[in-house]
Amino acid sequence: GENVGLHLPTLSVQEGDNSIINCAYSNSASDYFIWYKQESGKGPQFIIDIRSNMDKRQGQRVTVLLNKTVKHLSLQIAATQPGDSAVYFCAERTGTASKLTFGTGTRLQVTL
């Protein structure tokens, strides 16, 4: 939404650099994790997911890393582009098969 960027931690990167967005999750029993991207005025869009039996998963220009020991998730974006500017949310699934719990988000700003 339009005001989702207020009060959010912000990461500024230069175009072409790699970005790393971090997320600490709350429940050690969570078995599935998703990263979403939300552009201004739009709903969140799926980027990549990972199950708890994996440490790493790669997509096109994106990689998700999962460290279950410290309950930490990260999203790496290679060769960041202006179109990557958005708010990024992590989400975890615990217990009930369909509910997701979302983090508060990180705003990524790409400078030229």
């Binding site: 997911d49 949310f89 509910k99 508060t104």
Partner: protein
């Protein structure tokens, strides 16, 4: 193409009015969700539904109700709108086994 639509992008209502927010998905998904999104608070789950005529409370159900009479449609109802319900409302759906949720574009509701 996967699609979740919401009846309005912007809505302005007065305190005490009854408000209906409609959501329709065309993916034959069993699960549907209503969230509200406020600056710095991320997405908070209001209600969700696993099946027609079935509903469960989320984390912040107070002041809201829902209706799911058909599989493709999930309505959020504010019985008597209050100014603290001014927010961005997001609808989502997912398949029965859970996993990725697909989001609509959101409805920005302002209660005066």
């Amino acid at each position: 193409d996967v699609k979740v639509t919401q009846s309005s992008r912007y809505l302005v209502k007065r305190t005490g009015e009854k408000v209906f927010l409609e959501c329709v998905q065309d993916m034959d998904h069993e699960n549907m969700f209503w969230y509200r999104q406020d600056p710095g608070l991320g997405l908070r789950l209001i209600y969700f539904s696993y099946d027609v005529k079935m509903k469960e409370k989320g984390d912040i159900p107070e002041g809201y109700s829902v209706s799911r009479e058909k599989k493709e449609r999930f309505s959020l109802i504010l019985e008597s709108a209050s100014t603290n319900q001014t927010s961005m409302y997001l609808c989502a759906s997912s398949p029965g086994q859970g996993g990725e949720q697909f989001f609509g574009p959101g409805t920005r509701l302002t209660v005066l």
